[in-house]
């Protein structure tokens, strides 16, 4: 317990890294999901095929495998390219390798979430906007977007909850996130149970706060739906 108090500031910093990692990954996943859904719904043959390949293949790869491949493979690639061009040693960021891997994986799931939500908006809504002369982006922002949000939110929240837990494995490549720092503290104090239990509690807190916020957001988006 004393050790835990002594290491509390360090773990706090680790928790901030974990939250930053989750938020940055979610931002990338959201972008990729939006692009993927746009490609599937409105893209040409090539864009549709690419989006289909992306969402299908990414579902087959476990997060840690992609993280190791991006980090160690990316490092080797950077060394090879750097060596050929005569650069100094380039070091791949662990944080951004994690963001890239996790963002790409969950972007595949969000593609399906967004696509499914868009399909629930009646066609007439987009057609009416077009008839009024609205441009596609304005239509999405003011007409179809708000209507699909209600259907996208449960899936979006689900992906967020899974993504947060997924960030833990980035510690395997040596990132000093909550899990990585707790592992170091556990080794130097020889109190692994204390520290990993503390980590469990921090993740539970993140999950519970996310749950509460998502429930509020859902209640707000469903206002006027009479349920």
């Amino acid at each position: 317990m004393d050790a835990l108090i002594a290491y509390a500031p360090l773990l706090g910093r680790g928790a901030l890294v974990t939250i930053a990692l989750a938020l940055a990954s979610m931002a990338l996943a959201t972008t990729l999901g939006a692009l993927g859904a746009a490609a599937k719904l409105a893209g040409g043959a090539v864009a549709r095929a690419l989006a289909a390949a992306y969402t299908t293949l990414i579902r087959g790869v476990p997060d840690l495998v992609l993280i190791l491949l991006v980090y160690f493979g990316g490092q080797r690639l950077a060394n090879d390219i750097g060596g050929a061009l005569g650069w100094d040693y380039v070091e791949i960021s662990k944080f951004w390798a994690g963001v890239l891997s996790i963002g790409v994986i969950y972007g595949g799931y969000l593609t399906e979430t967004f696509r499914g939500a868009y399909l629930t908006v009646p066609r007439g809504q987009a057609e009416a906007a077009k008839a009024l002369g609205m441009r596609p982006l304005a239509t999405l922002w003011t007409v179809t977007g708000p209507q699909m949000a209600r259907f996208a939110l449960p899936g979006y929240g689900n992906v967020w909850q899974v993504l947060v837990k997924s960030t833990a494995v980035v510690s395997v490549i040596g990132l000093d996130d909550l899990v990585g720092l707790a592992d170091k503290a556990a080794k130097s104090t020889r109190e692994p149970f204390t520290f990993f239990l503390a980590v469990i509690l921090v993740y539970l807190a993140i999950t519970s706060v996310s749950n509460a916020l998502l429930a509020r957001a859902e209640a707000r988006l469903n206002l006027g739906q009479g349920r």
């Binding site: 790869v61 491949l69 493979g73 837990k165 494995v169 993740y203």
Partner: protein, 245 residues
Amino acid sequence: MDIWLPLKHWDLFATGVWTTLVLTFLSVGAGFFIALPCALAIWRKSPGWRLAAGYAYVFRGTPLLVQTYLIYYGLAQFDFVRESWAWSILREAWWCALIAFSLNSGAYATEILRGAFQTTPRGELEAAAALGFTPRQITWLILLPSALRRAAPQYMNEIVFMLHGSVVASVITIQDILGAGRTLNAKYYVAYEGFVTAALLYMAITFALVGLFRLIERRYMRHLLPAREEAAAQGAHLGAPTIVG
């Protein structure tokens, strides 16, 4: 990238595939037997249901990696654990992984089964009671057969989820598929071969499992399929592929 290198060490990956599959299916199997009493207790609000609900909440709300660390590294902190008979099991990475994965899978399965129990049409149970079925008969002959079928699609999802989660085993030295990839990379000081091979193997197993599940679904759960399509049309979040979480 040298494509012959993984092929030359095919036996390493064959062992890895076997280890991954055994670990995944044993965990999901053990998880089912943990989940069944927990889900029943929560659904019936029988004594101790809060404990079961708490277990499911904690294990679903935290990363599998940390749960595995807590069991594999954490328990060694206590002298009474190290001096007990259980130590011969708890010092083995393989057993710790199996225990952690089973508890994790059991927590997700609890939620899946609880949901399936809750959506059981009340009339089915009332009709059975009216015909004089005992509570035990209602559970085994009416509730479970109908709920398990409704839970099956999500349960199949959970198996794929566990397959992907099982990569955590390689972090605690187990030679599963990813473990084989890491060993290969370390041995030859290469960066791509082992990981790419592992990724392809996980993909192949995932798609094989999904294909198998589709066949099973079409064969044994035909009567449920139209209803699911209707549900998909009503709400995207019901129809979109979900990840258990």
